[in-house]
């Protein structure tokens, strides 16, 4: 329950609504509680001195009181449930803003699916606490107090007799709720098993087919499904008790009133009107009794969910700007790796990296998959911090830079070109919303995306991604490059960004880039020799260490990994050339 205390700051802006809510709830119950009393008076008048005028008066009074109660009830719902929706948005925004501050290492540890679940279903459960969780207890208390008062006014004895069963309702609703909750988590467990199995089966469909295991897979799924069904049926058995039980308590109350009320009437202690009114109040009391148990469960679940949200809010961002950050007007673009180590999951991904890149130079990084190339360049815009050693930009360690200033001057084209579901224009302007048209045109030209866009009906206003046009890998890479160029960065990092681009286009891009790269530091990661051969220095990474370094010619002459790579690519080109001839023939 303590977890829910974290909600208090979010409720503070809505103090006025809560106060109004309390007042209106009181008014609503006060007005609502009049109706059975009026009915009682009317019924009593019928057995004595009834006439049209009296009857008309009671009918109008009844209508009037219910009308007032209805208006108040409308306001109550609108204010309190509405408030829960406001807080829901505030809380969701707060969590989202916090998530934006968490670094890449957090996203390596936490799966997107789990984060999604917290921001959707857990948030919804917390909202239940805020909306119905506040409204119903208010209702319960005010309605309970008022109708109890009226019942006591009619007959203390009868009230006491009827009330004997009241706690039974609350307690049994609470316990049924608890059992339901337990059964529910058992069902959820089984559901996870069932869906994991299905997920595995669907993802591994080729293996399933290759071994002709369809029947067996179906049998396994069937067994899990049977268990799932029987757990669900166990739940149905308990849940189906719920409404009949509540109905039964109400009917028993009515029977008690009928019996003892009848006795009272026979002995002139009570009137028929008292009797009718009493049944009316019983109906009003029944709902609050049910609500107590229900709300208690609501709070239990809400607290568990809030706990899961608190875990997110409590995750400390590990990459933040220092108190007095270094934020120069302009970055020169000099990069130094000073004996850098990086550990991930207990293993050194980078070891002993010493590398100095003067401003304006181009360095290429080559090496096998998993050799640490991407990690190396991720340290420059401070997506991660080194485990040991320092990365210095313009002579200042990255940890002393203002994070935003640092990243603003670094353009990264990541391996997997990720575009957002938005227009192409928005995607390219991602980091530089205020770029001029000339700058935009130049970036589009160098990246060669302009040629693709010429083919689109809506040009740069074309929606891409999920709800729009699906771009090819090459187109995505080019758009992603344009995006990085547009920020006019002092350091440009291309992480195997042109892999999906065909060689002819690549050639054109590289030509444009060389002009662009003159005044900036460029780091190229690639598997293609054609991409890297013009670099001022080429380094070869293997298992996180630099094993070769030098210019293209130097490395080819050395006869190591790079020379081998170069030779293989030369052969491949010849092969393609040969094949071209074969196809022409």
């Amino acid at each position: 329950m303590r977890a829910l205390l974290r909600l208090l700051p979010y409720l503070r802006p809505y103090r006025a609504q809560i106060v109004w809510g309390v007042l209106i709830a009181v008014g609503n119950s006060a007005a609502g509680v009049l109706a059975p009393w009026i009915v009682k008076l009317a019924v009593d008048s019928l057995s004595t001195k009834a006439n049209s005028r009296v009857l008309g008066k009671y009918a109008l009074l009844l209508l009037g009181s219910v009308a007032v109660a209805s208006v108040l009830r409308f306001l109550l719902r609108k204010i309190l449930i509405g408030m829960s929706r406001h807080v829901e948005l505030d809380l969701r925004n707060a969590v989202f803003a916090h998530l934006q501050r968490l670094s890449a290492s957090f996203y390596n540890r936490n799966r997107a699916g789990d984060l999604m679940a917290r921001l959707t279903s857990d948030l919804e459960r917390v909202r239940y606490v805020l909306g119905p969780g506040i409204m119903y207890p208010l209702d319960t208390v005010t309605m309970g107090v008022f109708s109890l008062t009226m019942m006591l006014l009619i007959s203390t004895k009868l009230t006491l007799i009827v009330l004997i069963s009241a706690p039974v309702i609350s307690v049994s609703v609470f316990y049924l709720g608890r059992i339901t909750y337990r059964l529910h988590s058992q069902i959820q467990d089984q559901f996870s098993r069932l869906s994991e199995r299905a997920q595995e089966n669907l993802a591994g469909v080729r293996v399933v087919r290759a071994f002709a295991q369809e029947e067996r897979e179906t049998a396994k799924f069937g067994a899990l499904n049977d268990e799932y069904v029987s757990r669900n049926i166990a739940m149905v058995r308990v849940q189906s008790l719920f409404m009949p039980l509540i109905g039964l308590f109400f009917e028993i109350g009515t029977a008690v009133i009928l019996l003892f009320g009848g006795w009272g009437i026979m002995h002139a202690d009570l009137t028929i009107g008292d009797f009718v009114g009493f049944i009316g109040y019983l109906g009003m009391l029944a709902w609050p009794m049910i609500a107590i148990g229900w709300v208690a469960n609501l709070f239990q679940r809400g607290a568990a969910s809030m706990q899961r949200l608190n875990e997110l809010l409590d995750s400390q961002p590990d990459i933040v700007s220092p108190l007095s950050p270094f934020a120069p007007e302009k970055m020169r673009g000099e990069i130094v790796f000073d004996n850098v180590f990086f550990r991930y999951n207990g293993a050194n991904t980078l070891s002993n990296i010493r590398l100095a890149i003067p401003a304006g130079k181009t360095v290429a990084v080559v090496g096998r998959t998993g050799s640490g190339k991407t990690t190396l360049v991720s340290l420059i815009p401070r997506l991660f911090d080194p485990s040991a050693g320092r990365v210095l930009i313009d002579g200042v360690p990255t940890t002393e830079w203002d994070v935003q200033a640092l990243r603003r001057s670094i353009g990264v084209v990541p391996q997997d070109a990720l575009l957002f579901s938005d227009t192409l224009d928005e995607n390219i302007r991602l980091g530089a919303g205020d770029a001029t048209l000339e700058e935009f045109a130049s970036a589009a030209e160098i990246s060669q995306i302009s040629a693709d866009v010429a083919e689109f009906r809506d040009g740069y206003n074309t929606e891409v991604g999920e709800r729009g046009l699906t771009l090819s890998g090459g187109q995505k890479g080019r758009a992603s490059l344009a995006r990085a160029l547009l920020g006019n960065p002092a350091i440009l990092i291309l992480d195997d960004a042109l892999a999906a681009v065909d060689t002819h286009t690549e050639e054109r891009i590289l030509k444009g880039l060389r002009r662009f790269a003159k005044e900036r530091t460029t780091i190229l990661i690639s598997h293609r020799v054609s991409t890297v051969k013009h670099a001022d220095e080429i380094i070869v990474l293997d298992q996180g260490r630099i094993i070769e370094r030098g210019t293209h010619d130097e490395l080819v002459a050395r006869g190591g990994y790079y020379a081998e790579l170069e030779r293989m690519q030369r052969l491949r080109e010849e092969l393609d050339h040969m094949n071209g001839m074969a196809n022409d023939a």
Binding site: V39, A42, L46, A50, L55, Y58, L63, S65, S70, F74, R77, I81, E88, L89, N93, A97, Q100, S103, Y107, A112, M116, L119, A198, Q199, L202, G204, R206, V207, R209, A210, F211, A212, Q213, R216, T218, G222, N225, D226, V236, Q239, S240, M243, P244, L248, T254, A255, L258, L259, G262, M266, I272, V276, L383, I410, R483, E564, M568, L571, E574, L575
Partner: protein
């Protein structure tokens, strides 16, 4: 994973669609009896509940006003008994409906799963796993709600409403007419409410989907967001989408906030009418006080079903949309159909079939040909290596042999019979396939080896593992063969997964071996084990190997060279090298530095 949050099919149709309803009814099947009993209990329960106010009337008119205490006690006892029985009936009814619903959707879930087991690979290429998962989970759940709290509950509500009306008319038709005169008003309110709420419900679903997909995109792409200092802008947009959703929620809250009090007000009007009109009738001696009280109680009981009915609409609407999607999967035609009269696999005396590709053309899409006019044959017991650069169409060969896809032109023969005429299962069982990316199922190592032949003993499993040298690394694990492994095999190295896949294939003793050798680099020790294992696997089997390593190629009788979808060269290694063609080049390219004259012998 992302597909879960991209509820692209958020189109809601009608709440009732006769065609879908008929089809859904077909699934009720053997649950008909349960449902019939449920409906019977429902009717009896409703009747019991209807009798309550009548007893109250009787008590007031016949006993309380005449001071008949024993009579009153009897009535109260009857009332209690009836209440107990009604509650028991209602419990029974709710339970039976829920249980029947569970059985019905369980059958649908199984049918869906079975269908997914039969749908061909091209279908899986088009539909991401996440989408299929939501068919199996959320859509089936929506249908459960239809059966459990939808249909029968609606029948119950309608029966209760009609019952109350009938009883009222029977007791006193004049008072009944007066009381029921508010019904048109009630219907109008419900209609207006439903109309608005339905639209809002639809908007809400669309906006939730939008919010979720934006959120998902941001979580997955947080790195890019941060690199481009986009946090403030994206926060703004997130806030905007969330605000838009909130706006829709607030409008929904408004209509609910109007609806419930409005129904209360109509209820007050009805009670007022009973007091006023009934009072007059009573003064005229046309009704008794008991009747009046009974009417007040009936009006009380009238309102719960009315509220419920208004809310059931969303359930129906959601269920119909879900049914539409589920049926679409069930109705999906099978692109690679099994032959109606499948032939058994003809196996030569040696126990191994031959394989032949005859002018095969194949494209995954349109006429983007992956294989062009490929013809070759592999004789009984022969092993053939397929080589070629990436994208040459090698892996496609395997998919075609397993008949994951059908070829567009030409034919593939196994044992001299077109594979389209063979029994699919028999065909696949005859082939031990080892794919490059080894799929490891969640379970133990033992389970994974036994995957294709689940009935083999642990002894046989260990024997198979020993033959392919998997035994050693398995024994090094804490609990050996019982070691649990994770989905996708994150705990095993690439080499270990390879060996595991070898053991898995070997256990079933397939007469044909199809192997897609892993390209990834593996440490030399494991590499040596793998090479030896391959040699043992090839023994006595017709084999096709997509080879990446020289040593593997040298173990095969013959080499086929695929280049850009064409079979450009074939022959023994010596022949191909002598040709100085593509293989000659490829040989240098892939296997590096060794001069062709230097110790390369014909592998045969």
């Amino acid at each position: 994973m992302s597909e879960n949050w991209q509820q692209e099919e958020e189109v809601l149709g009608k709440a009732y669609d006769a065609r879908l309803a008929r089809r859904l009814w077909g699934y009720v099947g053997d649950q008909k009896r349960r449902l019939a009993v449920a409906v019977l209990l429902l009717l009896l329960g409703a009747a019991g509940e209807l009798a309550g106010p009548l007893l109250v009337k009787l008590a007031i008119d016949k006993h309380i006003t005449t001071h008949n205490w024993p009579g009153l006690v009897k009535i109260v006892l009857a009332f209690l008994g009836l209440a107990l029985i009604s509650a028991a009936f209602r419990w029974g009814e709710t339970y039976l409906t829920g249980a029947a619903g569970q059985h019905i959707v369980s059958r649908m879930r199984m049918q869906l799963f079975e269908k997914l087991q039969r749908l061909s690979i091209p279908y899986y290429d088009r539909n991401p796993v996440g989408r299929l998962m939501s068919r199996l989970t959320s859509d089936v759940q929506a249908l459960y709600e239809l059966f459990s709290s939808g249909v029968v509950a609606i029948v119950g509500d309608v029966v209760t409403l009609l019952g109350i009306m009938v009883v009222m008319v029977l007791i006193n038709w004049k008072l009944a007419l007066i009381t029921l005169s508010v019904i048109p008003l009630l219907l109008w309110i419900t209609f207006v409410f439903r109309k608005h709420v339905r639209d809002l419900y639809r908007q809400t679903r669309v906006k939730i989907a939008r919010l979720n997909s934006y959120l998902h995109e941001n979580l997955v792409g947080m790195k890019v967001v941060q690199l481009f200092n986009r946090e403030p802008k994206n926060f703004e947009k997130f806030d905007e989408i969330g605000g838009d959703l909130k706006h829709t929620y607030l409008r929904t809250v408004f209509f609910y906030a109007v609806f419930y009090p409005a129904v209360d007000l109509v209820y007050a009007v009805a009670i007022g009418l009973i007091l006023f009109g009934g009072g007059h009738l009573m003064m005229a001696g046309a009704v008794t006080l008991g009747t009046l009280v009974a009417f007040i109680q009936y009006v009380d009981r009238f309102y719960r079903p009315v509220r419920d009915l208004a809310e059931k609409y969303n359930i129906l609407q959601g269920a119909m949309a879900a049914a539409e999607r589920v049926f679409k999967v069930i109705d999906e035609p099978i692109e690679v159909p099994s032959p109606p009269r499948a032939l058994p696999l003809p196996i030569a005396a040696s126990g191994q079939p031959s394989i032949e590709f005859r002018n095969v053309w194949f494209a995954y899409r349109d006429d983007d040909w992956i294989l062009k006019d490929v013809s070759f044959s592999v004789a009984t017991g022969e092993s053939v290596a397929v080589v070629g650069a990436t994208g040459a169409g090698k892996t496609t060969l395997i998919s075609l042999l397993s008949r994951f896809y059908d070829v567009q032109r030409g034919e593939i023969l196994v044992g001299g019979v077109n594979i389209r005429e063979l029994d699919e299962c028999a065909l696949r069982r005859a082939m031990g396939v080892v794919l490059q990316d080894v799929f490891v199922f969640a379970g133990t190592v033992e389970d994974n080896i036994r995957y294709g032949c689940p009935d083999e003993s642990l002894d046989a499993v260990e024997r198979a593992a020993r033959v392919v040298h998997a035994d050693r690394f398995i024994r090094r694990m804490p609990v050996g063969y019982h070691e649990p492994v994770m989905e996708r095999g994150a705990t095993l190295s690439t080499g270990e997964r390879q060996l595991l896949a070898f053991a898995r294939a070997l256990l079933c003793e397939p007469p044909v071996l199809i192997l897609d050798e892993a390209t990834a680099s593996i440490d030399t020790e494991t590499e040596r084990l793998i090479q030896d294992a391959i040699a043992r696997l090839l023994e006595g089997r017709t084999s096709i190997i997509i080879a990446h390593r020289l040593s593997t190629i040298q173990r095969c009788n013959r080499i086929l060279v695929l280049h850009h979808g064409r079979l450009v060269e074939q022959g023994t290694q010596a022949e191909l090298l002598a040709m100085k063609g593509i293989y000659h080049r490829l040989y240098h390219l892939q296997f590096g530095g060794v001069p062709p004259s230097d110790g390369v012998r014909d592998g045969a």
